[in-house]
């Protein structure tokens, strides 16, 4: 029992209150199975499994995800739906354009659902919490351009990179994914002096550089704002990364070979758009004549930069420890990052091992983000039952403002109490908790049958996912999964019983925090 901060031993198996708090802090909340599993782990094992281990879903949930359109690999749909793809080309009139949009919308909707189902049901919660952190760190906006088709593949790419235990792997996985190229417009950025640029100029349609991705890579993904880089550096990086973009099924393989283009999945580096001139980036000369290799070099420089070590450490500590993490913890993480060349496990260990982290698990104080609240509530209420209503989870996440892939700006969702605690947030959480407790919220399964036509056509019709099978939470289980309540909370519950008491417990001040 880590009763005193100094006694925290990350190689001793967790007791129940620590395991429960760990699942809430570095996961999506306790259910009976997760709790049993975490009780057999030490904090170090929990962390290493988060990074290196995959996560499994109940077979029924996995089957549901496998039946969604996103289960088809990208290279199968790209010839039809990629830029200039056959279906896209054929969709010229309004009706077929609309049909194409519906297909794209269906992909994004499926990706959001699949992600929500995973958060709610995965057995390796630390893994999903860490993956969500990186998806948010390298945030994309699903509805933009071709990103509806790419969001799920992007998720898989970041997950694979996470297993490398290296920040640089994640940075590269994000940068070299078409989803990020599309989101921050780099697929359109073209050097005016490049082959494509000169041809465009001759045709009277000049093209040029777009510095959107270059700026956000430095500001958000690596160094952090205020790290001392200049507008000049932004412009130089924008030149370095020209030529990175998307593979189009209309491109002739022979022309690509002749140009020396390099393809990885649907990502394409096209030298015909690249700026081969001399650049000076972060005080270093990038000599003329280099292509894709100078992008590698720039990303490596950014990944091992001390400012990146600090920026990434601070963000991890804010998500997994506190809105205002102690300087000593950030310093220890930053040092570990620098000494290990940006290994995730090395950077996170000083966080987990810190007395501040141990103490914070005894009195969880971080205000849950909407996703933390939705999923932990669902897990507590459905403990032992699969949570199969992905559309309901998605609708709740949208309503509370934190749906996966739907943050429009590249900074990702906030993680602090000030970002989320508001009057509407409280109203929505309380309604959500009450709906679950009352059995009105079909978390387990949505009705497969289409909606019956309403008797009264003017009455608002419920969407199909709003009816189905609810979970049947049991009070003793909910108490165990929520954990101890304060004397004031206990006193306030004096008049309640049954379902009302379950709703109250899920809406309690203690369960709003992790």
């Amino acid at each position: 029992m880590p009763s005193s901060a100094a006694g925290w031993d990350i190689d001793r198996a967790m007791d129940e209150s620590t395991a429960r708090a760990m699942l809430n802090r570095f996961g999506y909340g306790a259910d009976q199975a997760s709790l049993t599993q975490a009780l057999q782990q030490t904090p170090r094992q929990y962390l290493l499994r988060a990074i290196h281990g995959g996560s499994a879903l109940p077979p029924a949930i996995q089957a549901q995800i496998d039946a969604l359109p996103i289960a088809v690999p990208l290279d199968k749909i790209w010839p039809d739906y990629g830029p200039g793809g056959a279906v896209r080309q054929a969709s010229q009139d309004e009706t077929s354009k609309k049909a194409l949009q519906q297909v794209e919308h269906g992909y994004l909707d499926a990706a959001v659902q699949a992600r929500m189902l995973t958060l709610a049901n995965a057995d390796n919660q630390g893994h999903e919490a860490l993956l969500s952190f990186w998806l948010n760190h390298f945030s994309i906006y699903g509805p933009k351009g071709l990103d509806p088709l790419l969001a799920w593949d992007y998720t898989r790419a970041l997950e694979r990179a996470m297993a490398d235990d290296s920040f640089e792997s994640l940075l590269r996985a994000s940068f070299f994914h078409p989803a990020m190229q599309v989101y921050l417009d780099n697929d359109q950025s073209t050097s005016p002096e490049s082959e494509t640029g000169l041809m465009a100029e001759q045709r009277g349609k000049p093209v040029g550089i777009n510095e959107n991705l270059a700026r956000e890579v430095m500001e958000l993904h690596t160094l952090g704002v205020g790290a001392g880089y200049s507008q000049q550096d932004v412009q130089q990086l924008a030149r370095i990364i020209t030529g990175a973009g998307l593979y189009s099924p209309r491109m002739q393989q022979r022309a690509l070979d002749r140009a020396g283009a390099q393809r990885d999945g649907q990502f394409l580096f096209d030298p015909r758009r690249h700026d081969f001139g001399l650049k000076l980036f972060l005080g270093q000369a990038f000599p003329p004549g280099h292509g894709l290799d100078e992008i590698d070099r720039a990303l490596h420089l950014l990944a091992i930069h001390p400012a990146t070590a600090h920026h990434v450490s601070l963000q991890l500590a804010q998500r997994f420890l506190s809105d205002t993490p102690p300087q000593s913890v950030i310093d220890a993480m930053t040092r570990a990052y620098e000494q290990s060349g940006g290994r995730l496990s090395a950077t996170l260990l000083p966080l987990i091992a810190s007395p501040a982290f141990a103490a914070s698990l005894q009195t969880p104080g971080k205000f849950k983000e909407p996703l933390d609240y939705i999923v932990s509530t669902a897990r507590a209420a459905c403990s032992g039952q699969a949570i199969g209503n992905g559309q309901l989870l998605s609708a709740a996440a949208r309503d509370m403002g934190e749906a996966p892939y739907l943050h429009s700006t590249p900074d990702g969702y906030g993680v602090r109490e000030a970002d989320w605690l508001s009057p509407p947030a409280m109203a929505k959480r309380i309604r959500f908790a009450m709906g679950i407790a009352a059995g009105r919220t079909p978390l387990a399964r949505a009705d497969a049958v289409p909606d019956k036509p309403a008797q009264d056509a003017s009455a608002p019709q419920k969407p199909a996912w709003a009816t189905g099978e609810a979970c049947a939470p049991d009070l003793a289980t909910v108490y165990r999964l929520v954990g101890p309540l304060s004397p004031n909370t206990t006193a306030a519950a004096a008049q309640l019983q049954g379902k009302a008491l379950i709703g109250f417990t899920l809406a309690s001040p203690e369960f709003m925090r992790r």
């Binding site: 417009d185 000049p206 109203a427 929505k428 009450m434 009302a500």
Partner: protein, 392 residues
């Protein structure tokens, strides 16, 4: 005046008292007679002001912006006596200008030099010239007006500009599922459990706001029957207007719109966003009605302007000085605020974007002084360190 903290704590003592809550009373901060209303409308993403209201008399405009200036050159609506013209998508703004109900500052902005959206937005919302701090300018202005009861934020969450109040302001999202909380024993118990905590303050404000909004939307249901679904700013502006008419004590209002970060193919995207915005502004005027509009000021700002030269993808990148608007029946409109030195290299900031001639804090403090009669000491507390130029 009711001390809301003590009020809420008192309630926690007796759960039974909840049934008889005089909910409307938490709103009872009537503005002193003669006071006016300020609506701060923040356009997030960095609006390209040179696109919306363009210096068409500047001979360099066409070469700086080969594709982005053609429409305004051909079809722009001249703003008399200024050398500027409104893009056709901003016809609503031109109408207000001609009616003497809108002024514009082409080179307005903040002291931001990062050209980062997020840092520049924080700087704007804190209003102190720093990028960190305990409170935003709307929170400090609400305090000067007598507390959170005078203010409302039409956003999903509490924006940074409103952070730092002891009691959160009313937050009324105009989209999404709203506040609807079922009354009863269970809610009473939840309120008691959260009493005295930050979560409790937010919950109490949700209940109070819901009461006020329900009464308004109650009127609305009949009025809007058969009307098209609320969609985009014009629809939201109508709701906002009706709510404000029914709640005259809400003198300080915050609202934000996104979608102005236009790096690529700006023409289509931005003309739609601006059409939405300027039509919405007229819808707001409409919904407020003549009398309310006469005591209304709308300050429209963005975190920064964009590059003077269009980029290689028919868009613009992050810049510095940008467009600010003051609109409303209470403003002295039909004017250009602050200078504009032209688009030649020497007049630009870092040979890239527009300089800032009008500090955002000066613009807002002038509007607040005119609206609320704040004295210099109060304005210094709200906007410390501002240059102090008057833009009334």
């Amino acid at each position: 005046m009711i001390d809301r903290r003590a009020f809420i704590k008192g309630l926690a003592v007796s759960a039974a008292a909840f049934c008889a809550l005089p909910l409307n009373r938490v709103w009872a901060y009537p503005l002193p007679p003669g006071h006016q209303r300020l609506i701060v409308l923040f356009l997030r993403g960095g609006l390209d002001g040179l696109y919306a209201i363009a210096p068409v008399d500047d001979p360099l405009l066409a070469s700086r912006r080969p594709t982005l200036s053609t429409t305004v050159h051909d079809q722009g609506i001249r703003l008399a006596g200024t050398g500027f013209a409104a893009h056709p998508s901003c016809a609503g703004l031109a109408t207000l200008f001609a009616a003497g109900e809108l002024s514009f500052a082409p080179c307005a902005g903040s002291t931001d030099t990062s050209r980062s959206h997020f840092q520049a937005q924080d700087l704007f919302e804190l209003g102190t010239g720093n990028i960190h701090g305990p409170s935003g300018f709307m929170a400090r202005a609400a305090t000067a007006l007598g507390g959170a009861g005078s203010a409302i934020s039409f956003t999903q969450e509490v924006p940074l500009s409103f952070q730092g109040l002891n009691v959160p302001p009313a937050v009324a999202p105009l989209s999404g599922s709203g506040l609807k909380l079922p009354q009863g024993k269970l809610l009473d118990a939840i309120r008691q459990a959260h009493a005295g905590l930050t979560t409790g303050e937010a919950l109490e404000q949700a209940i109070a706001t819901e009461t006020a909004i329900e009464s308004t939307v109650g009127m609305d249901v009949t009025a809007a029957r058969g009307a098209p679904a609320v969609n985009g700013f014009p629809g939201l502006a109508q709701h906002m207007g009706r709510l404000l008419v029914s709640q005259p004590q809400l003198g300080l209002v915050f609202f934000d719109l996104g979608g102005f970060d236009t790096h690529v193919s700006q023409d289509g995207i931005l003309s739609r966003s601006l059409e939405n915005f300027s039509t919405g502004l007229l819808a707001l005027k409409d919904a407020l009605g003549t009398e309310e509009w006469r005591r209304t000021r709308v300050a429209v700002m963005t975190e920064f302007g964009r590059t003077v030269r269009e980029n290689g993808t028919k868009g613009t990148d992050h810049g510095h000085g940008g467009l600010a608007l003051l609109a409303g029946g209470a403003v002295r409109g039909g004017r250009q605020l602050g200078g504009f030195n032209g688009l030649d290299d020497a007049s630009l900031n870092q040979n890239r974007d527009l300089p800032v001639e009008v500090d955002w804090r000066d613009l807002l403090s002038s509007a607040m002084r005119d609206a609320y009669g704040f004295d210099k000491a109060a304005l210094n507390r709200i906007f410390p360190g501002r240059p102090g130029k008057n833009w009334s």
